[in-house]
Symmetry: C2
Subunit: 376 residues, 2 copies
């Protein structure tokens, strides 16, 4: 199930929304305040400079930027370029916009997407880290990304040199999906040596950005970009990171967004492990293998398709063996009779009971009565 096909043209309301999202100096907070005051993006662009300045945080400089946005942003040109390159454009209220991203306090006002975001990408984990990765760090990123990919988890990262690039590549090599979130426009990927990588990712996932498609990489965009990496995922794994680094910013975003933070420990005399060790002191979960991650992840925003033709509500379900999976799929969230489960699975009742005990201990089902069980 891929993203809803993009409308070939946009109505005036959508165009105004995209323009607002691309207006320089208007970040998610100001955008929200403006929409609260004027009700629609169209109304914002029709407003006078004086009335714009009634909004807290908007002075002469920003009000002028808003009024000049239509000229400055060159929306028509950007939309034409997007169409020409087959980009998908997503607004927060549209179907196809990732639900987990919609739930963060400051969701991007627009996403430009190369490739496709699928419903299965709800089950996503970020792997991030330093550009100056050690052999050890790369090995761990590779191992975890491959393991997550094999488990059907989409690996999200920032396509930077070092850990990020390794994570994307390992996920794809394992036959899995991966999403790269860029700070620059998706048609202007950074760093330049990853242009080819972006093309590969487009085939096995998506390259996306909230910046206009041809936007060059600006240093100030990177920290802000990181909220999208964590926001797309159930949890963020920091593999190697210096003490002040983008990966730690991503981890802080994940914490604020209520997502899990994982850190891979390493040698205490390796500078790249000081970031993960700091996170571990601050309560991040220690990761040595993929199971450590899957067991910690909470329920999905909505059920996602799994690789075995069922659906997944909690990430740890991908750890189940065939019998456990079959029994789980036969149990309804509203509760099922144990006899019915046994009949549906064509299994003797004692085997169903034993399996339900396992599922209970993994907190995937709960007994609702002596002979009834419900999926959590």
């Amino acid at each position: 199930m891929t993203t809803v096909a993009q409308a070939p043209t946009f109505d005036d309301a959508a165009r105004a929304e995209i323009l607002l999202a691309l207006t320089p100096d208007v970040g998610p907070i100001l955008r929200t305040r403006l929409l609260e005051r004027f009700a629609s993006a169209e109304a914002i662009f029709a407003a006078s400079e004086a009335s714009l300045q009634e909004v807290q945080g908007i002075g002469p400089k920003i009000s002028r930027r808003i009024i000049g946005a239509r000229h400055e942003v060159q929306l028509d040109a950007q939309l034409a370029i997007a169409r020409e390159h087959g980009l998908t454009i997503l607004l927060p209220q549209w179907p196809g916009y990732p639900r987990s991203l919609r739930e963060i306090p400051d969701p991007p006002g627009v996403l430009f997407v190369r490739g496709a975001i699928e419903l299965a990408d709800q089950m996503a984990v970020a792997i991030v880290g330093t550009r100056r990765a050690t052999h050890y760090g790369k090995k761990q990123a590779e191992r975890l990304a491959a393991g997550l990919a094999r488990a059907g988890i989409t690996v999200v990262s920032g396509m930077a040199r070092g850990i990020d690039g390794v994570a994307h590549r390992a996920a794809m090599a394992a036959g899995g999906r991966t999403i790269a979130v860029l700070a620059s426009g998706v048609l202007n990927p950074f760093p330049p040596e990853h242009v080819k990588l972006a093309e590969e990712i487009e085939q096995q996932g998506a390259v996306l950005s909230e910046a206009a498609p041809t936007m060059p990489p600006l240093a100030g965009m990177f920290p802000q970009r990181n909220r999208i990496i964590s926001g797309l995922t159930m949890g963020t794994i920091v593999v190697e990171a210096a003490d002040r680094s983008g990966a730690l910013i991503t981890a802080r975003h994940a914490m604020k967004q209520g997502r899990e933070v994982f850190a891979v420990p390493g040698p205490v005399d390796s500078p790249g492990s000081s970031g993960p060790h700091r996170l571990l002191r601050d309560g991040a979960k220690l990761v040595t293998c993929v199971d450590d991650v899957l067991e910690e992840l909470g329920p999905l925003a909505e059920a996602a398709p799994d690789q075995r033709g069922g659906n997944i509500r909690i990430a740890a379900e991908v750890l189940l063996n065939e019998i456990e999976h079959a029994v789980l799929q036969a149990i309804e969230p509203t509760g099922s009779m144990l006899d019915d489960v046994a009949a549906n699975c064509a299994m003797p009742i004692h085997r169903v009971l034993a399996t339900v005990s396992v599922l209970e201990s993994r907190r995937l089902v709960r007994k609702v009565a002596g002979n009834r069980v419900a999926r959590i």
Copy 2:
């Protein structure tokens, strides 16, 4: 200030207590119950088999062991050997018996000591780990032991091969003190290749055991010995340890005794780091350097002398610079006037105020009024 000199002979009460502590199959719990029932060790050995069996947990087998103890233990021979080798014998209620060890639920009924336990050994930290240490693990044990020793902290360990031995040696090389706790008798050190190490430790600390001086190493004694390692210290650092290992047992003892547990992270693909990582998951403090340890340690059972001629109440005080140290030493636990502190230190009042702020932020002093400050 060394241990109180040992009395050349023991009175009957003391002899009975030592005998009770050495009686096979009578551990700390049974010993406590017996003393509750019979009030003294002498009375226990005068009791009938029938009355001994009135104590919970004592059946015919153990009551016979108690009655046969005087013969089996060969107390006179052991005491003669102890005297001949200049061992110090300590009973829990005697001065010189380590106070931190007296506070654990199951203190040894007797300690045989080669070398000397000093008052400064109250400020002790255990460093323990696997016998099959990696180069990385040994390097960390060495670095931490040396750093602790230089800070005036006594390093306690189990004199095993691997991490333990490295920790003892590094503490001595740094000019510090170290204590080895043996499972065998102190005159029968294990492993055999550490006989020379024991002689060195005796010169710069102590080798001690609750076993009779010539007792051979028995496998069952090692886990029990580990409670003494943690019990002598404010905290235990686990450097490298396999998943089921003696070092983890020491860490669990430390937790139960209310002492700190520290773990050194390492490469996730190194089996020796799986123990520390498990401890970190269970809430152990992550250690990368000595300061990480000192900052976490709570107040000492009683003030200990420091290397600068003052006294120490909280381990983190060894981290202070000269000025901070001088100001701290001028502040009484009952409170001092700031003007008096300034006069005692021959310092301008603004400097005292600034230094007091630092000490306050390190939670070493507290303001008790606008112009009064007290040591914590």
